[in-house]
Point group: C2
Chain length 309, copies 2
């Protein structure tokens, strides 16, 4: 039995995963209120203890513990170095987990874990060259080359959201201009929806946003589109074009077997995939949505023992 831990800025998911990568039991704990590294550490370790107890496992049944973390990671030493939305300051999670539960433990970043989960147990299983694009507040990437995760120096590979596609575009949080995620993340999409709806308060989109206190969320645009709102369709088309440019860049650089789209928006399925597939139509790279949804990170973490590097 393996334990997978998926640490995020809002929650941490902890699950017991069997050798076929099925989640037998899982728990979720809130991390958003954590103020110190010690608090965070306690939530993770106590949470894992609780999971193990509830799942009725004894220590000898646990073969491996894998953990996915946001931010900067030292994968070799198993240390979470720093993160934007969590009080992380060089927490040696691999050692802490290994000492607490008497099993080998590994740490990797969250985007890599999601990519690895889909590769080991999801949509890209059996393909050796795969780029997973995680669409969310930003755009993350997990790159698998020849069946292995590409980490790069200091584990910094895969920052595909900071690939510049518009050198005269908007400034990104990273300080550079025109990064892919400034136009193609779901946050960029939501902001554009809110911005344009101001000028069309009587449109279906405008009314949906007004009813939600002036804010859009990840579903607003898709609801308006399903109700034939032209402005919503136009915003979506522009966004797809931005997304497509970065996907073509990935194709030109890697020509992978498959690009996997993950993140909450991948639930939109064919509405999202069909135009992307049309855009890359003549090329042999497959475009698929992730199959494991929000569990990809947890399953991928539990499968980190299968990673040869």
């Amino acid at each position: 039995m393996k334990i997978g831990i998926d640490l995020g800025g809002t929650n941490v998911d902890i699950g017991a995963v069997d050798d076929s990568y099925r989640i037998l039991h899982s728990l979720q704990f809130r991390t958003a209120d954590c103020r110190t590294p010690e608090e965070l550490q306690t939530i993770v370790l106590d949470g894992a203890r609780k999971l193990i107890a509830e799942a009725g496992l004894d220590g000898e049944q646990i073969d491996f513990i894998g953990m996915g973390c946001p931010g900067e990671i030292d994968t070799e030493k198993g240390i979470a170095l720093a993160a934007d939305n969590l009080p992380i300051d060089r927490i040696p999670f691999a050692k802490l987990l290994s000492d607490a539960f008497g099993a080998p433990a590994k740490l990797d970043n969250d985007a890599n874990c999601a990519a690895w989960g889909e590769h080991m147990a999801g949509v890209s299983k059996g393909y050796r060259n795969v780029v997973t694009v995680t669409l969310g507040t930003g755009i993350g990437g997990g790159i698998i080359v020849d069946g292995k995760l590409l980490h790069g120096k200091e584990n910094h590979a895969g920052e595909i959201g900071h690939m510049v596609i518009d050198i005269h575009g908007k400034r990104c949080g990273c300080g550079r201009i025109g990064c892919w995620e400034t136009v193609a993340s779901t946050r960029a999409l939501t902001r554009e929806v809110e911005h344009q709806a101001q000028y069309a308060p009587n449109s279906r989109l405008g009314k949906l946003i007004a009813a939600n206190g002036g804010r859009a969320n990840g579903k607003t645009l898709f609801i308006a589109m399903s109700e034939e709102d032209n402005m919503a369709r136009s915003i979506f088309n522009d966004w797809i074009r931005s997304l497509e440019v970065g996907m073509w860049n990935i194709i030109n650089i890697f020509r992978p077997d498959m690009i996997v789209i993950s993140g909450g928006i991948s639930k939109e399925g064919e509405t999202l995939l069909q135009p992307l597939r049309a855009a890359v139509g003549k090329c042999s790279t497959m475009i698929r949505a992730g199959r494991l949804g929000g569990q990809a990170g947890l399953i991928g973490a539990a499968a980190l023992d299968e990673l040869s590097i």
Copy 2:
């Protein structure tokens, strides 16, 4: 002893290479006037025969023949499929060479061979993750991940010159808008030099170009810069910024140990490298010029037998 063949649109270089990747003897033949696949085939095979005779080799001394080709390649079958500037139409070079000289033969594309040459015997020897950027008429790429060349599906990986960095920019020969090579290739630089010099005929740059019949070449700008021409410096700075954006994209995607700049312009050395290094200063990826110059492709071709895939 290995034979390396570097096929280009103007010439083909054929050399005898020893196990330490030194070129013992080499010959060059013109390919620019070839009109049919049969002519091209004859130039390559007769050229190799001549090289072998001149080098005083007998057949049993030849362990391997490797060839680099521009355009589309089927590396598995060793077939050159098509190329823009040569009459190539499914020429089975690997079989032709192997049958003619009684040794195993392999084919790969020219940018990959240049990257592989620098990796086996040049500046990136000993580094396992390296991206080689070949600056010329276009921008080519050879990507080494974990000590192996990244081929991608149908050998299409490494098209880094067609990474879009300016979605509102110039149309590229490939049909897309704003590819890196539309602004950062040496051709883009030369065109910009010619364009701007029209408006400053009395500048040093303007006079150099006028003296050359209205045309710039790869050295014009650097000569004017060495003579303190401000316009030349300004054009160069803009070009470096375009180059830098793509290099940062490569860093964000791969975070390689090293980026190697190859192509004729890499002879400019520190004039080119110093500002690029400054731009990526805080990052751990090294920026180096290729060490093998125009011989990288030939040496890399001869070393293709060391490629595990």
